[in-house]
Amino acid sequence: MIRPRTAVAGATAFRPTVAEAIAGLVLVLLLVAALWPNLLAPGDPLAVSHTDAFRPPSLTHLFGTDESGRDIYTRVVHGASESLRIGVLATAIGIGLAIVLGFVAGLGPRWLDFGTTRFVEVLFAFPGLLLALLFIVVTGPGVLSSTIAVGLATAPGYARIIRSQVRRTAAAEFVEAARVLGRGRLWIITRHILPNVTAALFVLATLGLGQAVIWVSSLSYLGLGAVPPAAEWGAMLAAGRTYIANFWWMTFFPGLAIVASAAAATVVGRGIQKRNRSAA
């Protein structure tokens, strides 16, 4: 049967959609903000000016000012590096742990797979934030511990995905074909399984980054991560909380930055995933 949808998708597979183009742009802007914040906002994020306190958004203060007269736009831009660094670090910790667990379970002997899988299952019994909170209560709050906490909390989910990906690749027919050709186990792992799983890992990391940013900022908001006056987005939101009834812009714009980065990461991740799948 003719399936027009797939035919069309095949023809335009590598041209980004409008949403993907926008998402890509957002990510580039975020990267610029994180690496060279002064290009986008030359001001000082900590410059206090009491005469300018609580200004609503205007041309001079795009996102308005906060209770100490600090420019919120400048703070959001400068906060990108902190928020993203934490997000990236948390994702890296989560995926790093998951790679170890996933590969051990996916490639190891049966008993090792059994043990590792049970271990991951137990970690799974603590839904998301709870594992992070359990970790924080042991280590005490702070930027570093909240980052590690989020990494730890996301690891079981990734580990499960990686394990099944490894298993699926190891059971693939082309692996069998390689065995028939006389290739050894190590060769098959390095030439077939690793490259095929890595592609999926990259997608996982992109998708996970968005979630990690949300989680870490949630912890900051709850006062367990970065603390004001640091220009971290979650901390900024927490600081603006007191004034929410009258000065909405103090919470709205940092939140928008979080939503935009999480959504952009998701769109880009999905896009790569779709192309991987159609190329595979």
Binding site: I2, P4, F174, V180
Partner: protein, 557 residues
């Protein structure tokens, strides 16, 4: 009833400007079976589905006339079109496992048709459902009606699907590849049922790729290619004296009943290139003692080159059982045979008869519980994998689904370079000559080396798969359903290629297939496998094997 039930004239179907069906005309009378045959992409399925207004998303359908029982289909909309579907025309699709809702009992599916097209109340519908299931030859209809498609066998499912198709007592039945997913004896039963319905006065439009299916049941045959009907007539006319060139090619491509060695595809491919010298003799090979080869045809090579008829791979008393859900399943039971240089052993059997397990045992991917496989007179199956590996180049494999036997990330060039260099490199550059020679051998364009298998046609993929198997210069090839996913004309080309290669190189083949026609055409000997046991083994020409139900299946999907 007077006049045709279905009248189609100058039917045109377009998908975004591309003509898939181009001016097709035919008619089907009550009690008549008209068959449309063609290969994939010929437009036969779209033609069939246009009759019930289901050509597909984005299809533009036009016709000078398209009437079913006097109703113009194209001008029907909404409720009246739905009344036609199921009530006047019944559609029976290919695989009932997916064509019936897997989550609902089959009785409910049939009951739905009754609810839509008859005025029966719930109790009467239930009774009628049982009647219908009995009519299509399902025993225990009461029980079956409460089961879901996944709980039934392939033949039972297909019968249930037919029951749901005829529940609305349609005047016309459109059967789109109704037997393709079935084993041959089951297929015959389903065809008998369709024939019976035809004899009772239903007009039947049968769509199939399978000439032998059509031959048994059709009153008239239409041959379609590229969206147009190229030939029309009775089965005898079309198959015995084909007039159109395409029909002739199609009929010639059917392997059933063609003696071993006759070509199935018309023009030979330009393959004058000599067989490639694949191994790199300068590369230090730790296992040189066993498998070092120089270029072929030299006198020194004779030492390890097998003589015609010599036993290369021998299975004796192989047994393998699996445990599934606490149940023991014997996939191979006392299987013994030998593969000889230059000869083909055809291994036939229905699905689940243990064919694939046998292949895996021979390839050393699975270890037999009992019995042994020997390669060139030395042990093969009992060896640990590390000691088997140096000898693996002697035994190559071609898989049914070529696409999934390639790493999706690799290009054709990388696949062949890897095979040529024995896994030392996937860069085709340094071994370009060998890769090119391999592509020549299997009749592929050199430019294909840069492509990924995903972007090749089914026949091209299978050729790449054969090239990969040849790269290591094997003595034995295990061919697991190598052509069952291919159109009949492409199948013919691949079979011819395999035949030629065997003659050039004195290869021993194990040809696994469910298609007796293919097996008889290709094999010197035939083994019939049933429930893991070899129930027959003998020369392909002996009467006992050939007298099996000869409903062979030249697959050409």
């Amino acid at each position: 009833m007077s006049g045709p039930v279905l009248e189609v004239s100058d039917l045109v179907v377009e998908f975004s400007g591309r003509r898939v069906v181009d001016g097709v005309s035919f008619r089907v009378a009550a009690g008549e079976c008209v068959a449309i045959v063609g290969e994939s992409g010929s437009g036969k399925s779209v033609t069939a589905r246009s009759i019930v207004g289901l050509a597909g998303d984005g299809a533009r359908v036009s016709a000078a006339e398209l009437t079913v029982a006097g109703q113009p289909v194209l001008s029907l909309t909404g409720r009246r079109l739905r009344r036609l579907r199921g009530g006047t025309v019944g559609l029976i699709a290919q695989d009932a496992l997916v064509s019936l809702d897997p989550l609902r009992p089959i009785g409910r599916e049939i009951g739905d048709t009754l609810a839509l097209h008859t005025g029966l109340d719930a109790a009467a519908r239930r009774a009628r459902t049982i009647e219908l299931l009995e009519r299509v030859g399902l025993p225990d209809a009461e029980l079956r009606s409460r089961q879901r498609p996944g709980e039934l066998s392939g033949g039972q499912r297909q019968r249930a699907l037919i029951a749901s198709g005829i529940a609305g007592a349609p005047q016309l039945l459109v059967a789109d590849e109704p037997t393709t997913a079935l084993d041959q004896p089951v297929q015959a039963g389903v065809l008998r049922l369709l024939g019976q319905l035809r004899d009772e006065g239903t007009a039947l439009l049968l769509i199939s790729h399978d000439l032998s299916v059509v031959r048994g049941i059709a009153d008239r045959v239409l041959v379609m290619t590229d969206g147009a009907v190229v030939e029309e007539g009775t089965p005898a006319e079309v198959f015995e004296q084909p007039k159109h060139e395409y029909t002739r090619k199609l009929v010639d491509a059917v392997p059933a009943g063609r003696p071993r060695g006759t070509r199935l595809s018309p023009a030979s491919l330009p393959r004058s290139a000599p067989p490639p010298s694949v191994a790199d003799p300068t590369a230090g090979d730790p296992t040189a003692g066993v498998e070092r080869r120089s270029s072929r045809g030299m006198a020194a090579d004779k030492a390890i080159r097998p003589t015609f008829g010599e036993v290369l791979l021998e299975a004796s008393g192989m047994r393998r059982t699996f445990y599934v859900g606490g149940r023991e399943i014997v996939a191979a039971d006392d299987v013994s045979f030998s593969l000889r240089a230059g000869r083909t052993l055809g291994l036939v059997g229905e699905s689940g008869s243990g064919k694939s397990t046998t292949a895996r045992l021979l390839l050393g991917l699975e270890r037999p519980d009992a019995g042994e496989v020997t390669l060139l007179g030395e042990p093969w199956s009992p060896l640990p994998e590390a000691r088997r590996r140096p000898r693996r180049p002697f035994v190559g494999a071609v898989f049914q689904d070529a696409l999934s036997s390639f790493d999706p990330r690799w290009t054709v060039g990388a696949i062949l370079a890897d095979a040529v260099t024995r896994g030392r490199s996937t860069r085709p550059g340094p071994v370009r000559a060998e890769v090119t020679a391999l592509l020549d051998t299997v009749g592929l364009d050199h430019a294909l080396a840069a492509r990924r298998p995903l972007h090749l046609s089914g026949g091209q993929r299978q050729r790449v798969s054969i090239a990969r198997a040849l790269a290591a210069d094997p003595r034995v090839l295990i061919l697991d359903e190598p052509v069952s996913a291919l159109d009949v004309s492409v199948q013919a080309q691949v079979l011819d290629l395999l035949d030629e290669l065997q003659r050039d190189r004195d290869l021993a083949y194990l040809l696994i297939t469910h298609d007796l026609g293919v097996a008889l055409h290709m094999s010197d000997d035939i083994a019939v496998l049933r429930e893991g046991r070899v129930v027959e083994l003998g020369p392909a020409t002996t009467a006992s094997v050939t007298s099996q139900p000869s409903a062979s299946r030249p697959g050409c999907r």
